[in-house]
Symmetry: C2
Subunit: 380 residues, 2 copies
């Protein structure tokens, strides 16, 4: 069976795009991925589009806008893991032998849907008791501080690191360096979380072109990066019964990915993780087994997760700094992995990176019912 390779990547500037919609953004990202791959776009045989709030047949509109109408296209939705899931499904289409060249696009025009925190679904039992996303993550932060002695200042170092990385990323939503004081003085959202602890409402899109071994050898051999694993799991209280400070769902999905890729967490050179809130980055890297439980805040303080550190986390700026257009996020993480693995990440380049990991988590924060978690491993 063929391996799957990422041969082209593209993304829009993340931020507010009042003069565009999700179709425009998706089309721009797709065209950039085609240009990056250096291929004739007519080689593309099928497409997958990840989005959440963009309405029916959004991906088909993207194809039509770039003159590729007629291809098979599937829209996929897995909340904040939608873009990552689009890549996974595209990789199955290649591995099934159905196609040799497939594109995955993630797009979201979120500013036209929400201004602040996403409105919970009316059927949501957590929201019915006021447990919106910021409030749940605030409780998780408070509990983590209680269990592991993390200080508020340590937590603030995460948005500082990610926004300082974003300042080096020309496509990031935020490009201003910040300090711990900036975080602590920003507007309270849900105690102890403040504005800089929360990912923003962002518009944006990203696209990746996948190829089989055969197509890669023929069209794009030199710059290809291998998709070594793309795993997905769903969650609920059955999966995550008790803890506010550990994520079994993230752990299980990561274990699947390590097994597929034939690596362990010790082999990961850098990662992009789902830092929808500052505390979320802590929970994710520990869930992934990249840092021991309770150990990440001190590691950040020692600079271990910085661009020049032992294991850089969110070199792109992450959701906190680069922004979080739901469907776009998972694909943009892979765009960053590919640019780093190719050595094309400019002044945020991680030297000698060979193995990158991307993690998304969508749906419920602790999971009464629905959640979707993805882990992707790319290797050079």
């Amino acid at each position: 069976m063929t391996d799957v390779h990422v041969v082209g990547v593209g993304m829009t500037r993340f931020g507010k795009h009042p003069d565009a919609d999700s179709t425009d953004l998706g089309a721009q990202a797709l065209l950039e991925a085609v240009a990056d791959a250096g291929i004739d776009p007519r080689l593309i045989e099928a497409a997958y589009c990840g989005h959440v709030f963009q309405g029916m047949v959004t991906g088909q509109r993207v194809l039509a806008q770039v003159g590729l109408a007629g291809l098979p296209l599937t829209n996929v939705e897995n909340a904040c893991s939608s873009g990552a899931t689009a890549i996974r499904e595209a990789s199955f289409a290649v591995r099934a032998g159905e196609y040799d060249v497939v594109v995955a696009v993630g797009t979201e025009h979120l500013t036209s849907q929400f201004r602040g925190a996403l409105t919970p679904d009316p059927s949501d039992p957590e929201a019915a008791v006021g447990a919106t996303m910021p409030s749940v993550y605030a409780m998780r932060a408070r509990r983590y501080m209680h269990e592991f002695g993390m200080t508020r200042e340590q937590l603030a170092l995460i948005p500082v690191k990610n926004k300082n990385n974003a300042a080096l990323n020309p496509l990031a939503h935020f490009r201003t360096r910040i300090t711990v004081e900036d975080v602590l003085e920003s507007r309270p959202v849900a105690d102890p979380l403040r504005l800089h602890d929360c990912s923003p409402v962002t518009d944006g899109a990203a696209a990746v072109i996948l190829m089989s071994d055969k197509a890669k050898k023929r069209f794009c051999d030199t710059r290809a990066v291998r998709l070594a694993a793309s795993t997905l799991r769903s969650g609920s209280v059955d999966v995550e019964p008790t803890s506010m400070t550990f994520e079994p769902l993230t752990r299980l999905t990561a274990q699947d990915a390590y097994e597929r890729a034939g690596i362990g967490p010790e082999d990961v050179d850098f990662c992009e993780v789902h830092d929808c809130f500052s505390i979320a980055e802590v929970l994710r890297v520990e869930g992934l087994g990249l840092f021991g439980q309770g150990e990440y805040p001190a590691a950040v303080q020692r600079g271990e997760a910085d661009l020049g550190g032992r294991l850089p986390v969110n070199p792109s700026g992450g959701l906190l700094g680069k922004g979080h257009p739901l469907g776009g996020t998972g694909v943009a993480q892979v765009v960053e992995l590919v640019r780093q693995l190719r050595g094309e990440a400019g002044n945020r380049q991680i030297e000698g990176a060979k193995v990158g990991l991307a993690h998304c988590r969508g749906g419920k924060a602790v999971g009464i019912e629905g959640a979707a978690c993805t882990v992707q491993v790319l290797t050079r």
Copy 2:
């Protein structure tokens, strides 16, 4: 590479379910499919869920409700082709060698979203000029009458046939036989279409369990039906430039399916097609190449599409009679194909059926931008 087999099917009663939601319906259909397959549900390794208006991570909620949380689950959306696309993606996961047992669920609680015709998307350029679905299909009906001399009475024979089939289907939304007079005297919707020419707002869900060759041999050999083709294409004016009475998108998608299945339209014993309006059935069966262009209305008049005819069309009752819960529709079509091919369709059984075809068409009716078309071929 493995073939893909349908080894279990289930569906809810289609109709109005004021005391259930899309999760409840999806869970019921899934459990029925498991019971029909006669397998331990813990054999299921992954799931796909097709729906349109049911909100984030709907499929994950279905899994959680039946105690299968933790599995990989992808929600797919391709408008009215969502359920069919879920089956297609599930089949790729099997063919890719990722899983041996996968379930595809389609579900929609439409009565909680709409009462009459679906509200068009605000960005929709057709809707901006009043071209809602009923009005576009009304124009297509009028044009077809002009080009091919179809009479209003001939068109009425289609809802009569489908609702009379539905009267034989214990799970159909409508179970009352009707006459041509009933159609012609029903409330006008968009001239020449009347209420009986339009599919209803329906709640419902369906599920199918797919297996690889290996799993089928081990667990479910005797009643399995082969999924010989599951094809998808997107559309736009680029694909369908001129005609109101012929569907190049349906034709292209069908050609792909015939090629994959190694058959021609002459080999199809019966079909379920996307009769969202009476005229739609005409356009679909002719687009599929099952009847010559302009010839279907007279063929219906001769009884050729009846249960005992040369090529029964919509034996289940179709969208007009069985009902049309968007995400559920494409999966329910395959449920009917499987029951017919197994000889388990009761008093609507088509004798000796060996090859069944299902067709869905979602999104725009004539296609300025986005549309999704699927064709599936099942063989015994």
